[in-house]
Amino acid sequence: MAAVVLEFVARQVDERSDITDDKQAALHALFHDLLRLPEAKIIAVPDEETEAALCELIERMYQNREVMGQEAFMAVNRRVRRALRQLLDQELKVAGKAED
């Protein structure tokens, strides 16, 4: 029973292709912007435009915080957070809590 419910829920989420597309667009825009942001050079922006790659980038950003300097860190962090907001808004659509 539990497995059936979970599979149903998982299918509902999988079938929301609009969410997947919007998340991918947010990631693409982020990595595109970071490649052109001089402050982001030190943290090596990955080629792969995935959420896993973004997690690694965030970790590198904080690990290199001192080397980057506060201003550069804040500039990159601001852009990353804008993308995170977009990703979260998509997740909230699944949770039924999106603020449309």
Partner: protein, 344 residues
Amino acid sequence: MAADKSVREKICDYLKSKMPAARDLELSDWVHSPGGWSHEIHIFYGNWHENGRPMRQGFCLRKDPGAGLLRELSSLKEQFDVLKALEPAPVPTPKPYWYEEDPSLLGGPFFVMEKVEGEVPNPWSRAGKQAYAAAAKRGKLPKSFVEALASLHNLDWRAAGLDFLGVPGPGRDFPLREIAKWEHLIKESARKPEPVLTELLMWLKANAPEAQRLAFVHGAYRTGNLIIHDDAIAAIIDWELQVIGDPMYDVAYVLSDLNREGSPLLSSLVERELFIDYYQQLTGLTIDFEVCRYYEVLYMMRTTAFWLSASGLFADGRNKDLRLARTTYSVPVVLDMAAKALGF
């Protein structure tokens, strides 16, 4: 034939072995409480004769189901040891009786403690909210709420022998240890990359405050984890998250919006000003609101870890409690609260 016996019979046999002076022991008034996400909870009364006199005593048994919310981070043995250490202390707690590791008895470790008389109104239910709001108007329970918390924070935890819980080093060690603990649970549970959670974790590590003082901290001090009798806290329960740490960690939990669902009262019970003034008066501590705001964000990360663990256990088929399944939808909701707290 022992394998065919019902749980009730097994527990009765166990109590008979622990209470040799009890004659004609029978157990009654059973409640299998759905409250525990980490442990099975059985509440019942023992009725027996001793030295010719009829006796009656309430018991509460907590059993490890093997796949609880906190996974291996929740230890029944530690809970039992904490209650033992607190027994002589001026802290309202249930009296612990016996701990058993042997899985052949009930299928997993368990311990038996006193059933403290009183009620635990559910703070998320309408009836519970009404009960706490009415108690707030009467005025006695809110003060008792603060007094019980102060009794924890004023406790000489070294003298009580609670240092087995682990003592953080100076400075930022306490919050960093808490982050590491919950990050471990996240890594065990998460089924996909969570970049918002990664940002939250990294922010918490980068901004961890120094603890001004170490105290014995409950870790989830709120209504729902307190037994109430005669408008007073009869016992603090749910000993799963306790640590030696910054007392502001508990204070932040009380101040948090997480525990009052729109009620203007802290924990749906206590006026904010009353809590702040009375707590400071009883403990001699000054509440550091900036540090509390930090810990409130840490709690959002911890709650996310709980929900990821819960939904992961359900998805893996290790726990069939349907309440766990719906927690997958709570993850982005809590992350949204954290993102807003961090300004995005």
